[in-house]
């Protein structure tokens, strides 16, 4: 009986290891947002500034519209009229 008590006493740390851990404490901060497609982590941050890129892209669009319209006008005057030799 004395030996059995000794074995139980010595195995207590082992039993403590396999015992269920206490439930985790609720997180103090909100969990990180998840990507809709299931990607684990998305770098979070906000780009600051960047208006030069916005103006460049919109400017390219406007210049493209004007440029293509001018090219149509120029080619219109170059196009041979129907029936020309």
């Amino acid at each position: 009986m004395k030996w059995l008590s000794l074995v139980l006493f010595l195995s207590l740390p082992v039993l403590a290891d396999i015992a269920k851990p206490p439930p985790p404490a609720p997180a103090a901060v909100a969990p990180e947002p998840q990507h809709p497609q299931g990607i684990e982590k998305v770098p979070m941050g906000v780009i600051e500034g960047g208006w030069a890129y916005v103006y460049a892209a919109w400017g390219a669009g406007l210049l493209g519209l004007v440029g293509y319209a001018v090219s149509l006008y120029v080619r219109r005057s170059e196009a041979p009229p129907p029936g020309a030799p």
Binding site: V46, Y53, A57, A60, A69, R76
Partner: protein, 254 residues
């Protein structure tokens, strides 16, 4: 911007297309109305896109490139779809009109696509950190544009109008195969480019401005196609009325 406003613009655009196709007397002024309307819509887009629309959640103001980048690419895809429809129609029933419309839509598709890619490159720099990346969406878009540049080059180098029309119609159908690859590339492969946005991923005010941008550039697409079609028809008429070009017979002295 109320969500019904882009829809109203789209209805007006469809009415103009119907007038152009179904009412011959309207063909003198439809392109003028489309060009004027497009200019007004563009002025409104400048305000709504650069001032009124809220900044994007992560990209902040850089996200405003969305309102011009996506409409350009959509206009490009619509133009290429018109091109392939004309190519199929030409192969089913030979018509110089469909051939001219195919030429016009291909050129305008290349124009809108090239500007769209340029805008995407500008957008990539602050968001991806690079001007260009060999990503499936970017590669497939480049291949698609190069295919249509080749189509236009083939048309300009071929002198026989009938052979040009028939062969380019076949080339147009082959080139159009690249379009679904471009569309689905972001889903089929692991792409740095985002997947297509849906109504659930874009906030309502941003969606309304995006649709307004689409209506704006589709209106310009209509005006451009009408004028480019007229140019193609004028060149066609001129080429068809000319006597066939024959190589001069020369004798080589031995």
């Amino acid at each position: 911007m109320a969500s019904w406003i882009p829809l109203a613009g789209l209805i007006v655009l469809v009415a103009l297309v119907i007038a152009q196709l179904a009412v011959p007397s309207s063909r003198a002024w439809v392109w003028k109305v489309a060009a004027g309307l497009g200019t007004l819509e563009l002025a409104a887009l400048l305000y709504f896109g650069l001032v009124w629309a809220p900044p994007e959640a992560f990209m902040s103001d850089v996200g405003r490139i969305l309102y011009v980048h996506v409409p350009h690419v959509w206009a490009c895809l619509v133009a290429f779809t018109i091109n392939v429809a004309c190519a199929i129609a030409y192969l089913m029933k030979k018509s110089w009109r469909t051939d001219a419309l195919a030429e016009a839509s291909a050129e305008i598709g290349v124009y809108f696509g090239a500007i769209g890619v340029l805008m995407g490159s500008i957008w990539a720099r602050p968001t991806w950190g690079v001007w260009w990346d060999w990503d499936p969406r970017l590669i497939s878009t480049t291949v698609m544009l190069l295919a249509y540049v080749g189509y236009l080059a083939f048309r300009s180098f071929t002198e026989d109008p009938e052979r040009r029309a028939a062969w380019s119609a076949a080339a147009a159908i082959l080139g159009y195969v690249s379009l679904p690859i471009v569309w689905f590339s972001v889903r089929w492969w692991n792409s740095l480019h985002q997947v297509q946005s849906t109504g659930s991923t874009v906030d309502k005010p941003m969606r309304a401005v995006l649709y307004w941008g689409n209506v704006t550039f589709l209106t310009f697409l209509l005006a451009f196609i009408i004028k480019r079609y007229e140019l193609a028809r004028a060149r066609q008429s001129s080429a068809l009325e000319l006597p066939p070009v024959q190589a001069p017979k020369t004798e080589v002295a031995v």
